[in-house]
Symmetry: C2
Subunit: 219 residues, 2 copies
């Protein structure tokens, strides 16, 4: 199987668990990662990695999410890998999202919405976004307090709206109409399966159409 | 004045001419360029250059175009600088486009439409574009025959449609819905002034609303 590997703390758990099954001989997979961090973790875990020269689609991909609503619409990008994550998700037959129940929301937007922007003129892109959408846009900083540089050499702006995201189904296109906005951390129609893990070790699985808002409330 | 400098052969003529006026003492400008090539040419021409730390808008910008139609819609990106050119155009009070009459077209699309794409997975982005839009998509090559790397570290795909561009007013949003497509070389509503230079040295100037299709036919 060809497997897409997400980025972030949840994806790291999945990569480690996949590696254990590979090393025990039960699993034969080739993986492509959405970040240098996940790529290194996969290699250390004993997972065979491939490049785009050999891969065009993924049988399955495993990733996390910052928020997911009842219609399986997600905010992603807390790990700054949203550009690569969306490319892999769109190329995946079965995109599996793993979350804890705290990520499931009635509406999206408590978590800031990450955008990937061009470093060239990011300041005017930020100003234009704030003016056009009435939101606060903050450039994500690295440990050196300079704008964070993604694996693709780009910057991230985190958009905080006053309340829920305005019309999520059209928001991505409206944001991408601003020059300099290269990708939007809204993932719609890209989750084929949701795996919810609870504190007590229980796991529940859902597919689009399931009522996750009531079904995932811990009993 | 703050001046945005485009990229390409036409912009290079403009930069050289601006430099002559600066050196003769008649012009006091600060410029920001849309490529490393234009930046170097501006410096060599004696033009003072600035960074985005000091610039938020441009009084005027000067750039070329690969095609422009009767409604001032343009195809740009032959010089691979379309991402930066669009950011500067959107921040310009007066975007001046300089062309020769051969660039003025009844409909857009004889020239391939350049897209900026993420290097990560550009092969699946290309395949998806060809399938979704029924066009041919070729990665632009550098002199070493590898995919060209733009000043922003990205790749360029050139889209050739069978005939004219399908519905140019909505095409950009439809293309940007494909993950990995970061910018589109369609510039709509971004040209405030068109300067047409003829072989015989004559120059004509037009603004949106003018009938350039008949007015620019050489007499």
């Amino acid at each position: 199987m060809t497997v897409g590997l997400g980025t972030g703390s949840t994806a790291a758990y999945a990569i480690t668990a996949l590696g254990e099954r590979v090393r025990s001989g039960g699993l034969r997979i080739t993986a492509l990662s959405t970040s240098q961090a996940s790529e290194e973790l996969a290699r250390r875990s004993g997972i065979r990695t491939a490049s785009w020269d050999a891969v065009r689609r993924f049988d399955i991909s495993i990733d996390g999410a910052d928020e997911i609503d009842g219609r399986f619409r997600m905010i992603k990008g807390g790990g700054a890998a949203l550009l690569r994550e969306k490319i892999v998700a769109a190329a995946s037959v079965d995109e599996v999202i793993v979350v804890d129940p705290s990520k499931i929301k009635g509406e999206l937007g408590a978590h800031p919405l990450p955008l990937v922007v061009a470093p060239f003129g990011w300041q005017v892109t930020r100003d234009r976004l704030e003016q056009a959408f009435g939101c606060a846009a903050a450039v994500r900083a690295a440990v050196n307090n300079q704008p964070l540089v993604t694996d693709d050499g780009l910057h991230v702006l985190d958009l905080q709206f006053d309340g829920a995201l305005p019309d999520p189904d059209t928001l991505e296109a409206r944001l991408k109409a601003i020059p300099g906005v290269l990708e939007v951390g809204l993932f719609i129609g890209l989750c084929q399966r949701l795996v919810v893990g609870y504190d007590d070790g229980r796991v529940k699985e859902f597919v689009p159409g399931d009522d996750i808002l009531t079904a995932t409330v811990p009993s």
